[in-house]
């Protein structure tokens, strides 16, 4: 594939050249960075560690219509539409890696047309991390500040210029549409230096060896309570997780117009699993905390052969009560498994 570059102050032109694409990029409202459709290229913010809300919302929006109907009628109108090709500009390698993990779930047995439609129609232009944040541990989860997994092109911020390395045909096509200049060895070298620097800045790590196998044996272990006792049962860790994919389905009516929609939901809410009878299989925060961690690090890999975590550090950064997933996993390794009860 190709090597390209563009001058940073030409960003608006580069984005503007993408007439055939719907371009999404990180934009800031105050200090909050989130991926939005680009209307004005000057709003694009590239010097951030990780967006507050992960770009999973581009493939799996907070709320989306599944189908519409007239109440009392018998016609159902599906809301799957083929969107204009999308280009996600400046996505972090960890978030792109997360897509590849969630893909497995959404393609399991029944392909999910809503997710897949957006996924197939998207070109991902990643931006390598130059300044990983304090709680990043992507290198432990099969990614890295310049990981190419799941991306169509990877960009490196070299100060004045941006070096673009295309990785797929889709990416190359988009790079050509942007009208980029060819890059040479100087840029490649500089990019390598950026990656090396970034790697050195990643301070946190985790050896995942043995965790998926061990977690189920800690089902009744009291160590969960050290964490669940201070859990607020809020949705921050899961809503902001790029691999969390759970949702709720609700019917909504406005006059005679109705729709069935799905919206993000989280296993941390107590009402998530509660039965109509009032029985709740996960009645306390202990079960819910255990389920979140076990699902990511044990159940998901058991089913799909990959840990549902990319090490973006969001759940650590935003947890209001400092429930640190690395801390939990380290403690889980130390926890002694009691012999099965006789």
């Amino acid at each position: 594939m190709g090597d390209y570059k563009f001058a940073k102050d030409k960003l608006a032109e580069v984005i503007g050249a993408l007439k055939d694409y719907q371009v999404f990029a990180p934009t800031a409202v105050g200090d909050v960075v989130r991926f939005k459709e680009v209307e004005d290229a000057s709003a694009i913010k590239l010097d951030y560690a990780n967006s507050n809300v992960p770009p999973k919302e581009l493939m799996f929006p907070e709320t989306e219509t599944l189908f519409k109907y007239r109440v009392g009628g018998a016609d159902i109108e599906s809301a799957v539409t083929e969107p204009k090709p999308r280009l996600v500009f400046g996505i972090r390698p960890c978030d792109a890696l997360a897509y590849t993990i969630v893909d497995k779930l959404y393609n399991w047995d029944f392909p999910d047309p809503y997710y897949q439609e957006r996924r197939d129609g998207s070109v991902l232009f990643g931006m390598a991390c130059a300044e990983p944040a304090a709680n990043c541990f992507c290198t432990s989860m099969g990614g890295g500040p310049a990981s190419e997994k799941g991306l169509d092109a990877l960009m490196f911020d070299l100060g004045e210029t941006v070096y673009v390395k295309t990785l797929t045909d889709k990416g190359d096509k988009a790079a050509k549409a942007m009208g980029l200049d060819a890059a040479g060895d100087a840029e490649k070298k500089a990019a390598e230096a950026v990656e090396k620097d970034a790697l050195a800045k990643i301070k946190r790590s985790l050896d995942t060896e043995g965790i998926p196998e061990k977690l189920p044996s800690l089902y009744d272990h009291p160590f969960w309570e050290q964490f669940s006792d201070r859990c607020l049962s809020c949705g921050i860790c899961t809503f902001l997780c790029p691999t969390c994919h759970c949702f709720d389905i609700q019917d909504e009516q406005e006059g005679f117009d109705g729709r069935r929609a799905r919206m993000w939901d989280t296993c941390m809410f107590s009402e998530y699993t509660v039965h109509t009878s009032g029985h709740n299989p996960r009645p306390t925060r202990k079960e819910r905390t255990r389920n979140r961690i076990s699902h990511k690090y044990s159940y998901f890999p058991e089913k799909f052969d990959v840990i549902a975590c990319v090490g973006c550090g969001r759940c650590i950064n935003y947890c209001p009560v400092n429930i640190d997933i690395l801390d939990i996993l380290e403690k889980s390794k130390q926890a002694e498994v009691k012999e099965a009860k006789a």
């Binding site: 409202v29 809300v53 209001p320 009560v321 400092n322």
Partner: protein, 327 residues
């Protein structure tokens, strides 16, 4: 003044009591300017307890967060007390919970820790960045001395301290069984100038402001769950029968959620500022609550979380209440 050894000793004494089941306090976090709430059940764990300007969390929230499971047949319910460490602002939550009869006074042991202000993590991170090692902060006069990755740094207190502390009227706990150390002098007052400033805006400007803020909301409900006053078993926003707000996130439902929240906290909010602190998308939630607090004071001469003997604001009335807008 702050003396962690004293705190641990006192805590050890309390948790060792036969009639105390658990003790809620603070411990050092795992990185940066974080501290974490901790629930102790055994005297051997008290060494983890700390108190310094990173201890922002309100331990009173965790009293009501504990789920009450049905007691298995043949077993007696555990009626032992819960001990809780509280700063001045946190203690108001205890007072208000007692006013609302959330539990009986003799079910809790309150250890008061007079406080001279806590650090706003956002401000500190802007100034010093985030480190993966936990930071220690000591207060020395009007400046903070921070130990960041082994290096000692200083910053003026007023630049790092949380906004709520800049207008703190209750640095000393209002309800306690014991104070861990001596009371501190009050250093600030609250003139609600920020509310006045906001009110100068026209309805259009106000809505423009809130439209932008509420649009960001992802409805993670952390503001609700962290709130010591939001202890309903089933929250009105998640009810399906009747359904007050839909679960979809859009400006309409988000606004109604925030209006409901502010409404249910009017005359109850004790201004610990936790809701705003925890918000992952920086919605200035206390702007709503402070407006209600100010108006409740002005209209009904009522302040929540101050007097254990008071009646809840909306469960009482005064025949002479204002009615200037009523036709």
């Amino acid at each position: 003044m702050v003396d962690e050894n004293k705190l641990r000793e006192k805590a050890k004494e309390v948790i060792a009591r036969d009639d105390v089941r658990r003790l809620i306090g603070w411990k050092r976090g795992t990185y940066g300017f974080e501290s974490a709430p901790i629930v102790l059940t055994d005297a051997s764990e008290v060494d983890q307890l700390i108190f310094d300007p990173t201890c922002v969390q309100n331990p009173a929230s965790f009293v009501s967060l504990e789920e009450k499971l049905p007691v298995p047949r043949g077993q007696e319910p555990d009626t032992r007390k819960v001990a809780v460490l509280v700063k001045g602002c946190d203690s108001r939550a205890i007072v208000q919970q007692l006013v609302e009869k959330a539990y009986d006074r003799d079910k809790i042991v309150v250890l008061g820790v007079p406080c001279t202000g806590v650090v706003d993590r956002r401000k500190a991170q802007k100034m010093f960045g985030v480190t993966s090692a936990p930071v220690e902060i000591k207060e020395e006069g009007d400046k903070y001395v921070l130990t960041i990755d082994g290096e000692t740094k200083e910053a003026p207190k007023k630049e790092l301290v949380a906004d709520k502390c800049l207008r703190c009227r209750f640095p000393n706990p209002l309800v306690y069984d014991e104070l861990v150390w001596d009371e501190v002098a009050k250093w600030a007052d609250d003139d609600f100038a920020d509310v006045d400033e906001f009110e100068k805006m026209s309805p259009e400007e106000k809505w423009k402001f809130w439209d932008e803020q509420f649009s960001k909301c992802i409805r993670c409900y952390s503001c609700r769950n962290v709130c010591p006053m939001c202890y309903c078993v089933e929250c009105v926003v998640q009810k399906l029968k009747p359904q007050w707000t839909r679960r979809s996130t859009d400006i309409s439902e988000n606004s109604v959620y925030h209006i409901q929240r502010a409404w249910h906290l009017s005359g109850r909010c004790i201004e610990c500022g936790e809701c705003e602190r925890v918000c992952p998308v920086d919605i200035p939630i206390t702007k709503l609550n402070r407006k209600m607090t100010r108006d409740v004071m002005a209209m009904f001469e009522y302040e929540p979380g101050v007097d254990v003997e008071a009646e809840p604001l909306l469960a009482c009335y005064n025949p002479q209440d204002p009615e200037e807008y009523i036709m």
